[in-house]
Symmetry: C2
Subunit: 509 residues, 2 copies
């Protein structure tokens, strides 16, 4: 049997003693035998010990950071070369954007740019698609969150929190809509009693390119991005299939036969006087903001690019039309700021007269769709732009004859070898899947080849669409512990958000 060796036994009270391990370890000294003075000393000793521990932990932490940083530095240097190559390529793209942005923006109705697919247009479509996707990634749709229905991030750090700093835009305003309307399956409400708002939902944002990006883009770009539905398609069932004149909702159109789907008009124009987030309608919020921004950059070349997915695509078309119809895109010196829409998986919005009026006003719409998606077939499943025009004209008095607008870029998810065969219509409608399809699209009948290094894992962020062998879990985008954090007491709580929004006033008219 081994001879017992002395071991250092350090008790919690800061004392260190030498003990010989015996059958039973020595009991620690009893507190009750100490005098008050000794107690005070013990207290101080403990205090010192805790501080020492804290400091030592800090030092270790700092040391580990420095080590990490050194390793990172080497890697970073190696990556610089690669980065420079990519930068040169992307710079070339960007310089070409500065030169040809008007064509990309639809000046010539994208004639000759879709087949074969123009690489610059693809690049830009993905970029704006990612700005629409940001509306989903930033949205708090957890019904068990106190902030369900709001944006998860502060406006000023929106792109930063989404890892999109390199985009070079700043969010200038968040857009809210009132949820008390006829599309109950579109809006999210918290199940908790105490919530940030019972009436409002965050529905998008207005962003502006910063100085550096504006140089690269050849103009100062104002982007409006509209959020769609989170994953479910139930909201389609809520569409009333009922057209209403836009002029009935104070959009100043001289022609009362210009009509759009009643539900979209509701989301766009409804408000709630008692809610600080939606006492102005979404319409009023964006018109106010667009006017403010146009006045802020009086001597610059400007563009207005509106994007959105699903119901957000409908709002993109509607708001683009409204901005031009209202004449808000005219500068003080009489220039007309071009307004364009890049829409993804959008439903039909209005009737044939709406389409004619919109296009007559010079609003350019490029609609990216997946041919298997049902959402782009509603409303107006039977009476639509495919019906002979004389019939459309005849049916124009009827409330259910809809027409798509602009130019369509039709993709087909069955062409991507990365996607699995599913029957889930939410997959066909998924925005990330569309961006993946764009990345591989080179023209009708052309082979699907990814043209950038765009990460295919993004497809499964909120879907189960990638083939299994890519080893990407379905629906993988989630917060650690549903956003719960430990507070100073060590308890798990939902953190408060210090400030929900900071500019909800200001009226445009």
């Amino acid at each position: 049997m081994a001879i017992p060796l002395p071991v250092m036994v350090s008790s919690l009270k800061g004392q260190v003693s030498i003990a010989f391990p015996s059958k039973k370890p020595a009991p620690p000294p009893l507190l009750c035998q100490k005098s008050q003075a000794e107690l005070e000393i013990l207290k101080l000793a403990t205090r010192r010990k805790v501080i020492t521990r804290v400091l030592s932990e800090r030092n270790e932490f700092m040391a580990s950071i420095i080590t990490d940083l050194n390793i990172e530095e080497e890697q970073e240097m190696e990556e610089i070369e690669e980065e420079m190559r990519a930068k040169t390529e992307s710079d070339n793209n960007e310089r070409r954007i500065a030169e040809s942005w008007r064509k990309i923006h639809g000046e010539d109705d994208w004639i000759g740019m879709l087949d074969p697919m123009d690489p610059l247009l693809r690049f830009e479509l993905i970029r704006y698609g990612e700005m629409a996707q940001a509306c989903y990634d930033g949205f708090d749709f957890d019904p068990f969150s106190k902030y369900c229905g709001s944006c998860r991030f502060n406006r000023r750090r929106f792109f930063e929190r989404l890892g999109m700093t390199s985009l070079g835009y700043e969010v200038s305003r968040y857009i809210y809509a009132t949820s008390n309307i006829n599309l109950p399956n579109f809006f999210m409400t918290s199940r908790w009693p105490k919530v940030w708002s019972r009436n409002a939902n965050w529905i998008g944002y207005v962003a502006v390119s910063n100085d550096e990006t504006s140089v690269r883009l050849g103009r100062r770009d104002i982007t409006i991005a509209w959020r769609g539905t989170v994953t479910r398609l139930e909201w389609i069932a809520d569409l009333m299939d009922y057209l209403r004149p836009v002029s009935s909702d104070k959009i100043p159109c001289p022609d009362p036969s210009v009509k759009v789907e009643s539900g979209f008009l509701d989301v766009y124009t409804d408000k709630n006087k008692n809610c600080r987030f939606c006492k102005y309608s979404a319409r009023e919020q964006i018109l106010t903001e667009v006017r403010r921004l146009i006045q802020q950059y009086p001597n610059e070349e400007l563009s207005i690019t509106i994007t959105g997915h699903s119901l957000g695509a409908a709002l993109a078309v509607l708001s683009a039309y409204d901005i031009v119809e209202t004449g808000l895109n005219l500068t003080e010196d009489g220039r007309s700021v071009p307004v364009n829409v890049f829409s993804f998986s959008g439903p039909r919005v209005g009737n044939l007269r709406f389409k004619e009026r919109l296009e007559g006003l010079g609003v350019k719409v490029l609609r990216v769709v997946n041919v298997h998606d049902t959402v782009t077939k509603v409303p107006g499943l039977f009476f639509n732009e495919h019906v002979p025009e004389f019939l459309q004209k005849m049916a124009d008095g009827l409330p259910w004859c809809y027409s798509h607008v602009g130019v369509e870029l039709a993709l087909d998810h069955k062409n991507s070898p990365f996607l699995k065969d599913t029957n889930d219509p939410t997959n066909f409608h998924n925005l990330e899947a569309h961006l993946h399809l764009l990345d591989g699209y080179h023209g009708k009948g052309k082979r699907f080849v990814l043209s950038t290094k765009r990460d295919i894992a993004l497809v499964n962020k909120a879907a189960d669409f990638l083939k299994d062998h890519h080893l990407v879990p379905p629906f993988w985008r989630q917060d650690e512990n549903k956003g719960m954090v430990r507070n100073y007491e060590g308890r798990w709580v939902q953190p408060e958000r210090p400030k929900l929004d900071d500019h909800i006033s200001a009226n445009w008219f």
Copy 2:
């Protein structure tokens, strides 16, 4: 109209120029106009710029850490007082544990300690319950993970990663079982083709108290914790309700009428020669480890405490019996190390003869149950310890007469005002709910009052059981992005685990 002010325009190529904003921003210089030498200079400039940016980001990062640390320091100092008070209280508890651990360990069959509930016993039951809970919190049960069925953490950092460093134990061995047996609904397998193992599941661990903790506990404690089922109760349906002599599986029992449920015996003794994780059975793994540990601490007071929840509780009882039956708890100098089980929501394990043999060998079992839980009523729903003893003896030849062992501590979730009224049997069976019930339990018919600051939010970690007004989301324990991380290329991937385990060999016999 305002006079345009000059602005600094810095292009991506590291040049800074002064420009007057005009209607159209100045186009960036064209790369093709540069000579090769200029290109090299540009390259170097970019490199310098990137490094400068990296360094500046680092400095900002370090500065922000230092600020954070200063704020933390103040808070920490404030918390020291509170910590000291808590420490004193917990020290007092611990000193009393060192003095009375044999009673808590069941020396006197917990007579007089359960009603009213002994605070020290409650403290210890929660502590061991949390060690059983760690088997769930550490388990990778995501079928889309490459490591599904394994432990999420490296053995050496197990408690650290679970925020349980203050427990003062070290995991000395992980336990694996083969999943190719008759309890298909118990084991988890990955849906991916490439996995860490097709045959093994991590099923628990052996841990030892460190020197400091051993002083506090009054002995060196060897804890074995067994994992149960993740949330579903389907595995109950797989129980064959068939008793098998333990001696048939080489547990050296002289009495062939000592029988246990066949399924539990399978999990405990089956192995798979072709798998590096389960080429030894769970039984062989723990017996090897227990023998090694007893030899490692030859001159110390020791205890063996076995804990587990659900099926883990059955394995706890079975392994406790086995260790004593095999004589593994005897030291070289002839002392007998006390073996005890703290089980949670455990089913019946064996027949009356098993119970008699186990108790005759001096194994002390305290079973914490919720009276509404069905799992503790199986197997042996009809023939069990409630049947008159003569009938049990008569039925002893039959394969379906089971008996609970040890002492029961019956809790009732309906007594907790924090829990909502549900009909979900998985809630009644949930381990975190049991720990919450223990915290408020003071004796039969006594009012439910939480005795510690134990966080009630833990109840909803993997359940929907707390009343809504506590604002704790159901099933909130989850990894950020399902464990996906961005690799050096910026792609989202499942990270590889550098080393799955480090001691799978060593045979005990």
